[in-house]
């Protein structure tokens, strides 16, 4: 599955200028304990030598237009095309193009592929803020969470829907099923922070630091926590740093 970097078909402009680790250039100021440690070799396509690393990095950095303009799923190996499509659909959602995402996934596709069912549910949830508490999208998200709880896309997207409709505990239970996914960890950190449980967020981030060393998402998660750790320069105001969901 893991293509070597030089075989990577889709190398975006920014990747050739700067390696994805550029975020770690200030070791004296940031407590990056394992800055020089070698990257762990795993079968994870998101790992630093995987085919998906550039598009995934662009996504978590919030460069949504770039995720859409610089990558084409046909440039990726067959097994990575679905993750690329999911990332691009999530980028469209972040840019408010919900209807385009909903329209691009047929009923048959949604029935066959839980990832796409989750994407479609997530997009329709975001497209209609008025029907949030018990709308169709939320009911479908719950159904998917029960039926396809082992699927990472279901965990992330249905977890987001659940957390945003006040069912944070249910969302956390679903996300806990993840198999070493930093995306899931990052989302759990955000949910803990949204519930003012900085202590649990710290615990989650520490755990991720131990298996993922200095991955960008771990740095980001620790930084989200950092702006919340002392609380409130502005009264009860929580820093709204936004995030990946």
């Amino acid at each position: 599955v893991n293509a070597k970097p030089e075989q990577r078909p889709a190398v975006p402009r920014h990747a050739s200028e700067q390696p994805p680790k550029h975020c770690l250039n200030k070791p004296s100021q940031i407590s990056l304990t394992s800055l020089l440690s070698p990257t762990t070799k795993t079968m994870d396509p998101f790992s630093t030598d995987g085919e998906l690393v550039n598009i995934h990095t662009a996504f978590i950095q919030g460069q949504y237009p770039l995720v859409l303009s610089d990558y084409s799923s046909s440039d990726f190996s067959a097994s990575n095309r679905l993750p690329v499509r999911v990332l691009q659909d999530r980028a469209k959602c972040a840019l408010g193009q919900y209807d385009e995402v909903i329209g691009s996934i047929s009923d048959a596709e949604a029935r066959q592929t839980p990832d796409l069912a989750a994407v479609r549910t997530y997009a329709s949830f975001l497209s209609d803020p008025s029907s949030r508490p018990d709308g169709d999208a939320v009911v479908e998200a719950e159904r998917l969470a029960d039926a396809e709880g082992e699927n990472l896309t279901v965990q992330l997207l249905c977890g987001t829907v659940l957390a945003r409709t006040g069912r944070q505990e249910q969302a956390l239970q679903l996300l806990q099923k993840h198999q070493g996914s930093l995306d899931a960890v990052a989302l759990m950190v955000q949910i803990h922070l949204s519930m003012n449980r900085t202590d649990l967020a710290v615990k989650e981030a520490k755990g991720a630091r131990s298996f993922a060393q200095d991955a960008l998402l771990v740095n980001l998660a620790e930084s989200w926590i950092g702006v919340r750790q002392v609380g409130c320069a502005g009264g009860n105001w929580k820093g709204l740093v936004g995030g990946m969901c």
Partner: protein, 124 residues
């Protein structure tokens, strides 16, 4: 004084977060509205309102309708002691039910409820 204490206490955590966000936000190949907003929020926490505003305006230049950026602009104007009416209106026009607005409405209701328990009496 209170704010100074918070900043002294939290300075280190804020500073660390700030460096991560700033590096992403200011890198030409990694910049995005999300990290600019995050940079602005950590600067706000450190009391650097002017720098925070610069970053927020950069974010709004990229995404003029970004509700998180608009919400933080509203907060920034309030902290800076400026008239926040305009930034609030802008936020309302993009996302009427935004977390900040809902929170503000809830606090206003709570204040009114508390006020209802007291009968103002005026001495002649």
């Amino acid at each position: 004084v209170l704010i100074t204490c918070y900043v002294l206490q939290g300075g280190e955590a804020y500073q660390k977060s700030f460096y991560v966000f700033e590096e992403l936000a200011q890198g030409p190949s990694s910049t995005a509205a999300t990290s600019l907003i995050a940079q602005a929020v950590s600067e706000l926490h450190m009391g650097r309102t002017e720098e925070a505003e610069t970053a927020l305006l950069q974010a709004l230049e990229k995404e003029p309708e970004n509700s998180t950026a608009l919400a933080n602009k509203f907060v920034l104007d309030t902290i800076a002691g400026r008239d926040a009416g305009e930034s609030r209106k802008k936020l309302e026009s993009v996302d009427k039910g935004h977390e900040v607005l809902a929170d503000l409405a809830a606090k206003r209701d709570a204040f009114r409820a508390a006020m209802g328990k007291y009968n103002p009496k005026f001495q002649p």
